[in-house]
Every structure is written in structure tokens, then in C-alpha cells.
């Protein structure tokens, strides 16, 4: 009798864990552990969701499946920051499995096979596309304000394009402020700093910063950190990745400014509850 009760209690416990053990609660930011790539999910106070990039492949949908509630089959906005497979390939499986409200992207001047497939899939599934650039703003159903700070234009003015040109930088003001930078490169970072020295669109401080380009040494300069004064930095990088991301110089710059950081290669999927107390 006692053994039966133990078995049934364990099974019910497992079932409850399966049902309610998800991470994407209202007002959270989840940096998914997708190996060497990037995929970040923001959920606003009303449950509206934005997925920034899709990581390098099928691993993203597994990470997403463990993050979203079982019954959740839709994502409101999916953003493709730039057409590199470590950001785009996983979106193919996301588009195949979830109902997507809108696909946001900057105009890829030279789309690779993955981006072409993504655009074909979006067309097949009648997912509206939206070209985003500086000045694009929306207010989500839960009251979060989204603003695109970079790039200046969705079109790269100087083809052939730089590897990471026109990566969108998104600022989300909810209970706290989040900045998503994708694979922002040094040129766009400097341009953004210039813009933010005069524009009110840019926040004075950010609470959570997604460190650009997996912690590459060429971006996230001391000037950038001094301008936005992040309270915590999140880095998406694969375990023992061949690019040796994040670079020690970047980590040193963060340490010099006394900014604590979390890394997916050490911690796996990182969940941040976005409450004012975390600021």
C-alpha cells in the first residue's frame, strides 16, 4: 500500500512539474542555452512574447519547449537580427512549430540559404514581415515599450555588407530596462553611441544587457558600458566554442565597471525576472 502511494505521489509530482515547471512567466527575460548562437525570449506582463533570434538549429526548439508553458503554441514577434546561421537556423524549426504573429528583420542585402528558406517559410505560412530600423516603437499589450535604436536604416547603404551590419538593437522598457544587441559590430556601436549622446529615445541606464556578439573583444567597449551602466550582463556562448567567446578583454571591461555577468556556457539557460528590485 505504502509503495503504491509513493509511486502515485511521484507520478503526480512529475506530471505537475511537467505542467508548471516552465520559465516564461510574465515579465521575464530568458536567454536560451542554444550553444554557440543567440536566442532570447522576452515575455511582457500580459504574456506577450518576443523571440530575438533563433540560435544555430533544432536545439532552440527544445530549449523553447522547456521554457514556454506546454499549452503555448504561439509567439507574437520573432526577430531575425542578421542572416548568420548561429542566429537564424533555429528559426526555421520555430516557424514550422509555432504560430508567429510577425517576423521582424532588417533587409538582408545578401541573404544566405537559411534566410531564403526562412523567408519562403514565412511566405508559405502567411507571416507578416516588418522591416525595422531606428525609430520603430511599439507598446505591448502588457504595457512594455519597445524601441529600436539601431540601425539607422533597414537597408545597408554600402554593399557588399559588413558581416554584422544592420543588427537591430532593441530596448525594452517594462518593469525594468533591457537592451538586446545581437551581433552589433564596432562601427554600429560607435554610431549608436553618437546617436544616444543627443537622443531621448535612448535610456539613461539599462538593467539587463545582452552582451553583443557572444562577448567578442571588438564590441561592448568601455565607453558603451559607461554610457548605459548595465546592472547585469548576459552572455550567450557555446561550451568550449572555437571562437573562444567570450573574450577575456570583454570580461575584463565588465569586471572593471563592476558589472556582474552570467554566461550560458556556464549556467545553461538564464532566466531573469524583470522586477524593479533587480535594477
Amino acid at each position: 500500500m505504502g509503495r503504491k502511494i509513493a509511486i502515485w505521489t511521484s507520478l503526480v509530482g512529475l506530471a505537475l512539474w511537467s505542467l508548471f515547471g516552465y520559465r516564461a512567466h510574465p515579465n521575464t527575460l530568458v536567454m536560451l542555452d542554444v550553444g554557440q548562437g543567440l536566442s532570447v525570449l522576452f515575455t511582457d506582463p500580459a504574456g506577450w512574447q518576443l523571440l530575438y533570434d533563433g540560435g544555430p538549429g533544432g536545439i532552440t526548439t527544445a530549449a523553447l519547449g522547456r521554457t514556454l508553458p506546454i499549452w503555448d503554441t504561439a509567439i507574437d514577434v520573432v526577430v531575425l537580427s542578421h542572416p548568420h546561421v548561429d542566429h537564424s537556423a533555429g528559426l526555421i524549426a520555430v516557424l514550422q512549430r509555432y504560430q508567429i504573429g510577425e517576423l521582424w528583420l532588417t533587409a538582408p542585402t545578401n541573404p544566405d540559404q537559411t534566410t531564403q528558406e526562412l523567408l519562403r517559410l514565412a511566405k508559405d505560412r502567411q507571416i507578416p514581415l516588418r522591416l525595422i530600423s531606428r525609430g520603430t516603437t511599439i507598446i505591448t499589450p502588457g504595457g512594455a515599450q519597445l524601441a529600436i535604436l539601431s540601425p539607422k536604416s533597414p537597408y545597408d547603404p554600402h554593399p557588399p555588407p559588413r558581416a554584422h551590419a544592420a543588427t537591430p538593437v532593441i530596448v525594452i522598457k517594462s518593469a525594468t530596462t533591457v537592451m538586446l544587441t545581437g551581433d552589433l559590430d564596432a562601427e554600429d556601436e560607435n554610431e549608436l553611441l553618437g546617436f544616444c549622446s543627443v537622443s531621448v529615445l535612448c535610456p539613461a541606464k539599462v538593467a539587463v544587457l545582452q552582451v553583443a556578439h557572444h562577448g567578442s573583444k571588438y564590441v561592448t567597449s568601455a565607453a558603451f558600458l559607461a554610457r548605459f551602466l548595465p546592472k547585469i550582463a548576459l552572455i550567450s556562448a557555446g561550451v568550449d566554442n572555437r571562437y573562444h567567446h567570450p573574450h577575456p578583454d570583454t570580461l575584463e571591461r565588465l569586471s572593471n565597471q563592476q558589472i556582474p555577468y552570467s554566461r550560458t556556457d556556464y549556467s545553461g539557460t538564464i532566466t531573469r525576472q524583470l522586477t524593479p528590485s533587480k535594477q
Binding site: L11, I59, A62, G65, L68, I70, A89, R97, T114
Partner: protein, 438 residues
């Protein structure tokens, strides 16, 4: 039945090594009480067949090993496209030169089995990335003899041949894709790919961390279409068929047809054929009310698979699968009797798991240099949920296609069952019961 046993044993021994065959003959003679000469003759015939088949097969292998340049060579995509993260493997059969190659192409290329293509590029001999893995031997199991990297492939709009076999293959592959897509739409990941593994044996889309957990806990066998999966399906079918037809004979035939259709749907993988042969054999024995000795039920399917493809003898999954079979049907009953005499009562699933672990451990140690005993704890927990997960999963696929209005409910129930299994496997992967140097 005894003669069949010695015939199958002869084929296996003859295919393995000729001296093993020579050794088997006196054993067959000496261990048989009645009809000694006939037994030795049948065993000898089996050895002869095994020797002839392996010799013939080696000649075929030698004639098909070819390397060089192809220029617009006409080939046929002769296996389902193997789509992975970032690339696709395409198996292409050529008549001139007479060889079969595995081409690595971009992941979104729209080729499928039965397509005729013109191929240009270099064919190289398969080379291994590391010393522990013989890639050439691995590919020969699938009768593939060369590799190509990013060849130029053009589909032929006017195919030179078309036959019913190809059309059947295409239909089966399309049906399989439809089921996989249905699972993808219905369930979140990693549950969708895990269920595809349980039902169809496809494991290529299962995330690496889940595969690692399965390997650590010795539970990978549940996502290979094995005898167990086929027997579960066969049992469901037999019960349903009896209700539908009210006729034992018709139910038996219906079960057989459905089992082999299911095997076809899984891509006629070696594991599925193995499982289905065992299931068919045991169904036949039950139907004919014949007593089939356990070793005969083991040897005959093994011999049939070796006659079809002698290279399978070197296939690790084949070896592990038959070692596990041997443990379950020969060692486990013996253990059961011994323990019963000592009035020690253990659940039969624990005894079977222990027996299978006992017989597969030497092969794992020899091949990987590691031994994991966490399977002893995890397998009894997980295997209890396999029939439930298979049943609920299969029902969900059918019901979600017919009555989509119930999809949210089906998604909830199926995901909870599968996620519970995956949680047990994940927790089991932390049990420190592995030893080894690698």
C-alpha cells in the same frame, strides 16, 4: 523446430568465420539425440549458405568500391534523405560506375527517395574523423561505398525508369514525413522528436542533450524501433483486430499486415525488421500453437538478417540488440527460477533489465571502454511508461489528424507523459554508476 535452430546457427557461424562453422558441425552432431545425421546435414547446409553469402557479398563490396570524378552521371536517390541540423545526407545509387555514395548537401535541397538526378563532383573513399570509428565499415553496412561533399546535383525532369517499388518508397516516405510534421505541429520539443523516436525510430532530430541522457542511462534502445516497440504495436493491433473481426485467424493476418506496414513506415531499418521478424515468429508460434524454444526465436531472425546483409554482423546496434534479446529470453527465465527457489521475489522487469545489462555490458566495454549500470535503476522506471507513451502518442497522431478540435487536450496529455519520462531519464543521468576510460 530443432532443425530450423541448427540451420540458422549454421548460417550465423558460416557468415562469421569459417572455423566457427567447422566447430559448430561436431557440436550439432554430438548434442542431438535423435536424427543426428539429418541435424548435421541441415547445420552443414546452413554453414554452406552462410559461407557462400558472405563470399558473394565480399565480391559485391569489392566491385562497388569506386573513387574518382563524376560528370553529369545519372543516379537515383535510393534511400530517404537524411536531414540534419545544417546539412542533408543523400544516398545516390549509380549504374555507371556501379557504386553507391553518400553526398553531403545543403539542408534545404528538395530531393527525396526515387528522384533521378545528374551528379557532378568527386567521389572519395570514406575517411574517419577519429581512430575509434571505422566510417568505411559503418557505411558498408548500408551498402554505401563513397562520399561526396557538396556535389552539383540537378534533378532530371524526364526520369529514365519508374517502377512500383520506387513509387511505394516515395509514398511511405511522404507518409512518414506527414506523421513527423503532425507531431511537430501537435507537441513541443523535445517531446515531438522523442515521440518520433518511440514510434518511428527516427532519432536525428532529438536534441544532443537528450541523446546524451539516454546514452548515460542505457535507455537509447527505447527510441530505436526494436522488438519491444513492435511487440507493443502488435499487441495493440491484435486486441483491436479481434474486436473488429471477431475472428482469430483474420486478426492474426491483420496484425501481421499492420506490423509490416509499420516496419515499412519506419524506413525498413535493420532494427525494425529485426523486431518485426521476432514479433512475426512469436505470433506464428502462438497461432500455430507450437512451442518455439527461446534460442530458436533468437537465432532465426538473426540468421535471416545476416543472409540479407552479412555486413550487419559488424553492426554494434545489431550486436547489442541480440545480446539484449539473449539476456531477456535465455538468462532472465533462468534467473527467475533461481530466485524463485530462494523465495526472493523481484519484479520481472528488474530481472529482465539485469539480464540484458549482463549480456550487453561486455560489448559496451569492448566498443566504448565504458560501463554504465545506471540503466539498472532507470530502465525499470522508464520501461513501465513506454506502452503508455506509445499508446497515447499513436492515438494523438491519429486523433489530431481526424478531430483537430481536441489538439490542445492531446498536446497536454501526451506532453505530460513524455516529459515525465524525459525527466526520469534526465535525473537518472546524474546517478554516478559509470566506469571507464573514455
Amino acid at each position: 523446430m530443432g532443425l530450423l535452430h541448427w540451420f540458422g546457427g549454421g548460417i550465423l557461424a558460416g557468415s562469421l568465420w569459417s572455423w566457427a562453422g567447422a566447430g559448430l558441425l561436431p557440436i550439432a552432431y554430438l548434442t542431438t539425440r535423435r536424427r543426428r545425421n539429418l541435424t548435421a546435414l541441415v547445420c552443414g547446409l546452413g554453414i554452406g549458405l552462410g559461407l557462400w553469402r558472405s563470399h558473394h557479398f565480399n565480391l559485391l563490396l569489392q566491385s562497388q568500391r569506386w573513387t574518382g570524378k563524376l560528370s553529369d552521371a545519372v543516379g537515383l536517390v535510393c534511400a530517404p534523405a537524411d536531414r540534419r541540423d545544417g546539412y542533408t545526407f543523400l544516398t545516390i545509387c549509380f549504374c555507371d560506375p556501379p557504386t553507391t555514395v553518400r553526398a553531403k548537401i545543403d539542408p534545404y535541397a528538395d530531393f527525396e527517395i526515387g528522384d533521378y538526378v545528374a551528379v557532378s563532383g568527386s567521389v572519395a573513399a570514406p575517411t574517419s574523423q577519429n581512430n575509434d570509428f571505422d566510417y568505411a565499415r559503418y557505411l558498408e553496412r548500408y551498402l554505401v561505398f563513397g562520399t561526396m561533399k557538396q556535389p552539383h546535383i540537378v534533378p532530371l525532369t524526364d526520369p529514365p525508369h519508374s517502377n512500383i517499388k520506387l513509387r511505394l518508397w516515395r509514398t511511405l516516405t511522404a507518409t512518414r514525413h506527414r506523421i513527423e510534421n503532425q507531431l511537430n505541429r501537435l507537441l513541443p520539443e523535445p517531446e515531438a522528436s522523442f515521440l518520433a523516436g518511440l514510434l518511428l525510430g527516427s532519432r536525428r532530430l532529438i536534441p544532443p542533450d537528450v541523446l546524451a541522457d539516454l546514452q548515460k542511462t542505457g535507455t537509447t534502445h527505447i527510441i530505436a524501433v526494436s522488438g519491444a516497440n513492435v511487440v507493443i504495436i502488435a499487441s495493440f493491433v491484435l486486441i483491436a483486430a479481434r474486436y473488429i473481426t471477431f475472428n482469430t485467424r483474420a486478426a492474426w493476418w491483420l496484425s501481421l499486415i499492420i506490423i509490416w506496414c509499420f516496419v515499412a513506415l519506419t524506413g525498413i531499418s535493420a532494427a525494425a525488421v529485426r523486431g518485426a521478424t521476432v514479433a512475426t515468429f512469436s505470433l506464428w508460434a502462438k497461432h500455430a500453437r507450437r512451442h518455439v524454444p527461446a534460442t530458436t526465436a533468437l537465432i532465426i531472425p538473426a540468421a535471416v538478417s545476416v543472409v540479407i546483409n552479412p555486413a550487419i554482423l559488424h553492426d554494434l546496434s545489431w550486436q547489442l540488440s541480440y545480446a539484449a534479446f539473449f539476456g531477456i529470453i535465455v538468462i532472465a527465465p533462468w534467473l527467475h527460477n533461481r530466485l524463485a527457489k530462494k523465495t526472493l521475489k523481484l519484479p520481472s522487469i528488474m530481472i529482465e533489465t539485469f539480464a540484458a545489462t549482463l549480456t550487453t555490458t561486455p560489448i559496451s566495454w569492448w566498443s566504448f571502454g565504458t560501463v554504465s549500470l545506471s540503466g539498472l535503476l532507470v530502465n525499470p522506471l522508464v520501461l513501465g511508461l513506454v506502452p503508455l507513451a506509445t499508446g497515447v502518442g499513436a492515438l494523438s497522431v491519429v486523433a489530431s489528424s481526424l478531430i483537430p478540435v481536441f489538439n490542445p487536450l492531446l498536446r497536454l496529455v501526451t506532453t505530460v507523459v513524455l516529459r515525465s519520462m524525459l525527466t526520469i531519464i534526465h535525473l537518472g543521468s546524474f546517478i554516478p554508476l559509470s566506469w571507464g576510460e573514455k
